[in-house]
Amino acid sequence: MFAEISILEYWKSEHDLNTLEDACALDAGRGLFAVADGAGTTLFARQWAMTLVELFVSCPLLSADPFELDWWLGQARARYTEGLPAPERLPPAVRQKWQREGSQATLAALRVVESEPEYALVKLLAIGDSCLLWRRAGSEVVESFPLRSPAEFDRPPLCLPSQAALFRRSFHRLQEQWLRLGPNDCVMLATDALARWILAGGDGSLTPNQCFELVARQMPSSWQTFVEEGRALRGLADDDCTAVVLTCRRTLSERAILLGTTQSYQATLLQERRRAFEEARRAGDRRRMAVLYGDGTAFQEQDLVILPGEIELARCVAEALDELLWQLRPLLNRADAAEQAALLWQSYAPLLAAEPCSASLRRTLAALGVPGVAVEINDSEEAQPGERPVRGERTE
């Protein structure tokens, strides 16, 4: 299958490319496309959004499994922090806010899994209000994912956080959907303002199909004029407007290029992931094992021996540790922190008391004065001054 591809980007009024908080990236040869919308209420939102989309097209997330997402976000965080100055070099006000809230962004991504002359099978992944919209050839129905109606955009969107401490597997759930595209089908990855505008039929004077058609017809050179007119005349919100438009074609043409596919992770990445998994296994760090194992797809083709129940136990430990940390964090500044933490620890102690991955947590609890928390001598010795647990943050 071939596709004609348009990349459409324009920013909020008064702004410019440097302050655009949307980001998009694609690798048509591997069938990877992504858009993200950095949350303007957080710092370095554009940097985080760009990190997510660039990571997706270089190392795509293959499924919406929470542990797989946790592993993938770990990759994203590593890239993201590499690109920013060290926290102590940030202005104090910026540093505090960034350490407290980090950055947040929504994400919508498309991966081509099969590309045949008559069809392309794609997998959609999304979180928040960045959307994928599509229209079948000859149809006037515009379908969308993950949001289906304009009213759903009123709710604050779910965002992927750059701070590990703010990520919850049970809460930050990606949604996924399979789609089979035929010749002349058109699919679009769009950030919230544009997606909402299309689904609402502009200011009500158009149909979603007409709006979709108007956007699908745009070229990068006409996009700025289109967006400005849309804001002035057709009810388009004054927000960053980003879209990647793919129109499927059966044959090659001047604008159409061949859609490639991606079905698995790259071999080097798989080897690195396996090495890290075996290292975590040797260290007995079950939380890290659970995250590295992800949904297990990465290890299917490898001759890795997994013991019965090993992954299930690792996931239980990871869930328990993360849940405990999540509940503990707001308690730390309370006067009765020790009592509250003790009650909390009682619920999780059977699972976590002997786990190496809970060592720093146990040190924190012992320092708070929670009775009966076993702190191994090795824990204290191993902890370097720079690695001491920071109050209210997850330590890994």
Binding site: E14, G40, T41, F44, E82, E88, L90, P91, K97
Partner: protein
Amino acid sequence: MPGRLAFDEAMQFPRSRLLVPDPELREGQVEMVEIKTRRGLIRRPWGLEGGFAVVYKFRTRSGQARALRCFHVDMKPDTEERYRRIAAYFAAQTALQAVTVPFTYYREGIVVKEQGRGEVCPLIAMEWVEGRTLCEAVHLYCNQGNRVALRELSQRWQELVLAMRASRMAHGDLAGSNILVRDDGRLVLVDYDGVYIPPLAGYPPVLAGQEDYQHPQMRQRPYNEETDAFSALVITTALKALASDPTLWQRYARLDAQGNPSESLLFTAEDFADPQHSRLFQELLRAREPLVRKLTEELQAACLQPVQQVCFPFALLDPNYGYKQALKGLQEAIANDDDEAIIRAWQPLLEKYGPAQSALPRVELARRRLAALRSWRATIASSASLAAILASYDSVLDGTRALTESERCLLSEGRRLLEALTRRDDETALEAAAALSQYYGLKLLSAQEQAQLQEARERQRLRQSWREARRSGEIEAVALAYLQAQRAGLLPSEEEERLGKLAARFWELVTDPAADDEALLEAYEAIALSPLAAELHISAEQRQRAELAERRLAALARLRMALGSRRLRAVAEADDPLLETCTALAPEEKERLELARRFYAAVEANDDASLVMLGEQLEQEAATSTGLRLSPEEWTRLELARKRWRAYSRFLSALHSRQPRLIAAAAHPLLAEMQLSANERTLLELAQEFVAAYEDDRRLVAFYERLLSSPHSAFFQFSPEEQQRLHLLWKQEQQWRTFEQVLATAPQEPAEEGPRRILAAYNALPEALLERLSAEHRCLLEQARQALELLHLLRQEASPEQLAAIYTPELLETFPSLLNSVQRQRLERVLLLQELQRAWRACDYRRMLLIARAIPQPQELERYGLQLRVAARRLAEMLQPPGVLLALRPAIDGNHLIISWRWTTDPLLRHVLICWHTQALPPLPQPLYPGQLEQIGHYRIVSHPEPAGQGTASLNLTVGSCTLLHVVVCALLPEDWGQGTSGRFVEQDGRLSDWQAADRPWWLGRALCASLVLGTEVALS
């Protein structure tokens, strides 16, 4: 409120976002800070974020630095008012001008967008102070060991504290970061969110303050000029201590990872929470400098005191501070001419303080005045007479400000009240009493004074009431006010007297329903004709009442004229509904009017009974000399009523007998004109119908049915003979209906059940009913008999001729369920074979072949095989496909024979044979057997797929290279009867298909032959 980042964004676009009117600001630019990332530089506005607001450094159009302060938390609604008062206060207080900066509060300062929605937020613009924070300055001087600078700093701080106290101001959030040290060493306070100034007394407190500067009970801190007592003591102590020993900073200051000082100044909240065990407190209590020790002791004590009791120890900074403060208070009281404040401000310590002695005479005057005031207040509290209170007032109190507003009012308004009561000046007296009662009610007045006041009030009320009534002009208001004023002896002027009387008279009559109409009209006209008419407003209702009286008088006059004529009709015509309420109508007039009214009502209603009853009364009336008399027409009408009444009486008597013949006989023609009741009329009609129908059976039955279905079914009393006849006829009717029902339902029943039931019902009919049988009935009976016969023959396997003889199509229409499917099929075959024979005899070969195709069993047709073959041959000779077009066209892969023709709807023309050869084709055999096709040459048979479909057929046949081609086209009629064939598409070229056995011949239609030259076309017909 929007978040910090939203404000950051807004600050970057001052031209569009700043709403302040100052172009210097709108065309300026916020100072930016740059952050290097791997993706490039990120520029962000530089801003300091505090608890309530973020402060941006802003460069105006002309390059001056300004501080723009934006609130990022919701502020109280009175924030703008507070800032307005604070700005004005700072500007007015000389002492504060040096230690504060002027600012402007803009309620609509900046447009901030978040989530695409814009919000207008307040903004404070102020001077940008270049310098260091107090903490930074202390950090610098201590690190340098610069005691001189530290002492200078401490001295400046003390001056600032005294200046604040002198201006009675408190900052609310004194802290190292809110005190700036200018480059020349002067101190400036910034951040005025929590400021207290006297104009803000009574406002709810703003809880600002950093815990390293605040008392542990900061939340209970008072909101007044003592708000800063604790934090000022903290800073004073810290600065004094550091000036004495700068090394304290190295030991106690908190520094961050980069070595920068935190916002605390030596002391922390932990020190204040437990001063007894604070290492810093211990060390400062042992300091060499006594003032440091004393300040530390004060601070330690303050930590342990309730926050409300903490005071700043100004005496430690200035020994005469107490005298100066006391004298300042006294001077302020004298300046305000406030005797009570003067007495309060005269403190014992001033008695020996020289500068205070010159104020002593003023203090004495204040004392005398307060004594007189106490005495007068005692009189006010105990006395029950206004005159006595006023008498006890001492003139020394003239001019004092100690008198309360109420007391001043008592003095002035009390005097005014007593004078007005004496002069009977009611209006002034009431005004004075009202003013007095705002403060004291009327409790200061004696009973006599109160009675006088009440009389004045009543008089005033009546005057007011009369004035209002005159202003309104309302009859009722004027009349009532006049009557009240008259009773109170408040005699108005002569003109007002006249006006009052006119209104009172009219109002009295108009409100009395029984008032005499003539008197009412007179009063009404008196107003209308009076010169004062314009001052009185007669309401629409009152006017209607007067007009009613006028109309009623007219009606009465008309009635009396009619009564004088003695004519009954004239009286009836003079009747008017208004007379019902006329009180002037005499009883005999009323009686005659009623008589006439009733007579004509009865005539109108055609009510003979009433007319008959009135007749006697009218005859008596006519006999009197003045009584009403009937005209001849009225007499005629009365007589008619009497006749009809008699006829009706007779009818009623007959009705009571319940005998229909008597009732019918009592029917008088006059009854038709009368309004009989519905029941009476129905019974009369029934009785008449009975008599008329008695000799006619069908009609009598109809009567009886009508009677039984009516509510009067049991009314009539028939004679035994009549009753017997009715019952017999009724029974026969029921039998007939049963018979008709069988005829209607039985034909639907299966097999012989229906015909048998019909014949059984017929047999059960009594003789008397046979004459009611119609032709249709008899036909149905005949069909029932034939149906039974047909069934019998079918069961007996009778010959087709016998079956055909008895069968008619109507038979199965009448009895659709007579035959089962086998019987029906057999019958249909018999009928088809009969039809086949008829067609043979009529030489209708087409019909024969169509019938033969419709018969599926070949054995049935064996007898007719020869006839069918003859029919097929003869018919085939007439078959020919229409519109045949042939063309021979050259092509690369050999020549092409293109043939087209039309299919018609003829079900027998379904197959076409095309033969071609370069040699001349021999004649085709008739009939043609499939095996013979091989000998002919090239051929193709084309069949139409549908039994009766039409359309155009077209073939493109490759015929090889040739210049001349012989072609024959003809229809094919296969011998396909007895096979149940249906149309099938077959296209053959040298192969036999499987749809017809090889031994069954085809009959060829008329052959269309052509010899085609290459590149030519031929149409064949």
